[in-house]
């Protein structure tokens, strides 16, 4: 069984979690000022990397809180989990967030 380290609850079984897709997507400061192309990219275009990916996860059947995680999409290994609003400590950060 895959264990995921919830920042509040510690290591818990994967079945208790929900994945919320790519993390660190900033809403444009002035939505009215950007063109349709950029707006649609903000809404719909997501990375699909082969390798380290920054994702949002929700401990749905536990504390119910959202957090961020760095996960390797090849090995399915969780490199790090960290609270909402925080930045990852790992050095892979720049690749994952670029």
């Amino acid at each position: 069984m895959l264990l995921i380290a919830c920042p509040h609850c510690g290591n818990r079984p994967e079945t208790e979690f929900r994945c919320g897709g790519q993390a660190h997507i900033a809403r444009p400061e002035q939505p009215g000022a950007i063109d349709d192309q950029n707006w649609s990219e903000y809404l719909f275009v997501r990375k699909n990397p082969r390798g380290v990916h920054a994702e949002r996860w929700n401990h749905a059947h536990g504390c119910g809180r959202w957090f961020n995680a760095l996960r390797d999409t090849v090995s399915d290994r969780f490199i790090e989990t960290y609270p909402m609003g925080a930045s990852p400590k790992s050095e892979t950060t720049s690749e994952a967030r670029a």
């Binding site: 509040h8 079984p13 994967e14 079945t15 208790e16 059947h61 536990g62 504390c63 119910g64 809180r65």
Partner: protein, 188 residues
């Protein structure tokens, strides 16, 4: 998909010879008043129940308990007669702080699972490590049992005494699940 090992026995269309699970009892709990409390800060107490305990622990006793399920979420259980009293004292204890206290007495159903092999029985559908080191007395958390979401509380004391709290509409499923798991235990 749950990846735990199912120890539930097969249910036969004509029923089974009654097997009393040895070393474990499954008993629906009496009616009880329960509240969900949401408040950001963990200072102080509510009706004599502490808020500042670690996440995923329960305090109080069997009659009056408070389980901290998340950073700002608690589940409180008190005897049915104390429901009004708790709401009044919570309002005065939390005066001036933004909070939500919701009466979920009719939503929640409690099932007491006790006995030497209670952890083994719960592990038929609960993916948590229920060993003494990982889930000692005083632990409480929301988790899954089969397909249903439950709150699992381990009562204080050396003996394995658990309370399974589930939602009313899932109660027959959860109770049936525990009983079938109990058949598996009975067969050793």
């Amino acid at each position: 998909m749950l990846e735990v090992r199912y120890r539930t026995a097969r249910t036969l269309p004509l029923g089974r010879v009654e097997v009393r699970p040895s070393g474990v009892s499954i008993r629906p709990a009496d009616a009880e008043a329960r509240f969900v409390l949401r408040v950001r800060s963990t200072e102080g107490e509510v009706a004599g129940l502490p808020l500042d305990r670690p996440i995923n622990t329960v305090s109080g006793d069997d009659r009056r308990w408070i389980a901290r399920l998340g950073p700002d979420e608690w589940l409180i259980g008190v005897p049915e007669g104390e429901a009004d009293l708790l709401q009044t004292s919570a309002a005065s204890d939390l005066a001036g702080r933004a909070h939500a206290l919701v009466d979920v007495s009719n939503r929640n159903v409690g099932i007491d699972v006790e006995g030497l092999r209670a952890a083994e029985l719960l592990n038929a559908g609960c993916p948590l490590d229920l060993g003494d080191a990982a889930f000692p007395a005083g632990k409480a958390t929301r988790t899954l049992l089969g397909k249903a979401e439950i709150v699992l509380i381990r009562r204080a004391g050396a003996q394995a005494r658990y309370r399974v709290e589930c939602w009313r509409s899932l109660a027959t499923y959860v109770h049936g699940f525990l009983q079938e798991a109990g058949m598996g235990i009975g067969e050793g």
